[in-house]
Amino acid sequence: MTIRTIAAGDITAAVRDLCITVNHRMGEDMLGALRRALAMEESETGRHVLERLLENAEVARSQWYPICQDTGQAVVFLDLGQDVHVAGGNLEAAIQEGVRQGYRDGYLRPSVVEQALRRTNTGDNTPAIIYTRVVPGDRVALGFLAKGAGCDNMSRLAMLTPADGREGAVRFVVRAISDAGPNPSPPLIVGVGMGGTFEQAALLSKRALLRDVGAANADPELAALERELLDKINALGIGPAGFGGRVTALAVHVESRATHIASLPVAVNLDCHSHRAGSVIL
């Protein structure tokens, strides 16, 4: 086994580029989901909204306008191969520097205040939120969400009981989206995290947003649950931008893990119709 060396500066450059790309170029998975939504939407207003979203994505790409003015809090998912040595700097500082450069060079909005109750804008969108896993191998994988707050604010977590079961989990997820109504900017990507502990469920629901839009869970039972949730959410009538329609969510991504005999945590993390996600492997 050999140790592979990766320069901290290369990580900074990769994060910088992710910030800029993700905020200007909507992913093909998301564009495909919006086009499928346009084909199935019955509401004339809903179709108009979806057409405008696709037009916006094109203008953002070709004329270098950010897809949304809320260019998000930067959430970085770092998978660090255990055979990697980062040289020439502190790994976390390298990521923060990438976010600083990306938001500055990309004319992206600084949207972070220094502390929950001391609300002075930090001016450069740092600190980013970083979730690190050490994994086998000699690569560094960086997942990135430009996480808008309007939809994050409508997210929810419940410590259900085993007796609540599947039915209780479905009711809780659908209720969260029903209550949110037009606020989180539908049609949505719905991340659901179940199991683990309080904080693991929340993190699973956020990681679920990184999946290609509409890609089903490999577990057939969970894939069936995703389809059922999507049907129930799209029966709510909220529709594109909340003006009424058939398409309230584009996709539901469920992740589920081992949990305590006493627990059934369920977290719902929402992403808006400007869903911006990306990844790169070094």
């Binding site: 509401s43 949304c68 003015q69 009538g237 909340g242 808006c272």
Partner: protein, 190 residues
């Protein structure tokens, strides 16, 4: 909700014009609007509570709940979509009652208190589509910070807009597009 008609509105506008607008109307706004979101609202409410003058006369004006992205060189502004209006609900009745503000642009539902204040003061709530922030930014002809520059993206900007597309969500007569649209397409038995 199907827009019944498209109406051109010049900002500022008066009570009579506000009363002519109906929930569901597609509106193209032209003229001057002012951005203000969370931090600016907190400051405006503080000034009103302290009986101090406001930095902007809001009578018959429209406030846009928006924190734009910084402009690229040669542009007045970057992307400029709406933020969630309900976060401003705590301040809105006070602002409507003291300034005679005529309109607000945002996204999402308003509280019962805000809707009552809108009917009382004859003010309109317009919805814009957040995911069209690039298209909305391209409708802005001129932008300048006119108050609270230390707030950065949350400063009050004066925007000159041309045919800026919005929908009347709540009119002065009690109409609500979100409720009407959702009721039409709802299929759940609950």
């Amino acid at each position: 909700m199907t827009p019944r008609r498209t109406v051109e509105v010049t900002v500022p506008f008066d009570v009579e014009r506000a009363e002519s607008l109906r929930a569901g109307d597609a509106v193209l706004l032209s003229g001057t609007i002012y951005t203000a979101r969370d931090a600016a609202h907190e400051r405006l409410a503080g000034l009103i509570a302290g009986r101090l003058p406001l930095p902007v006369d809001l009578r018959d004006q429209v406030v846009y709940y928006c924190g734009p992205t910084p402009p690229r060189p040669g542009r007045p502004i970057g992307s400029a979509g709406p933020t969630t209006a309900s976060r401003m609900d705590a301040y809105t009745p006070l602002i409507l009652d003291t300034t005679r503000l005529r309109g607000m642009i945002g996204k999402g539902k308003r509280s019962a208190e805000v809707r009552a204040a809108m009917m009382r003061q004859r003010a309109v709530y317009f919805g814009a589509i957040e995911g069209t922030a690039a298209l909305l930014g391209a409708c802005v002809r001129d932008a300048a910070v006119v108050a609270f520059p230390d707030l950065g993206p949350e400063a009050i900007h004066r925007l000159v807009v041309e045919r800026f597309p919005v929908v009347v969500v709540n009119d002065v007569h009690g109409g609500d597009v979100y409720e009407e649209g959702r009721a039409r397409y709802r299929r759940d038995p609950a």
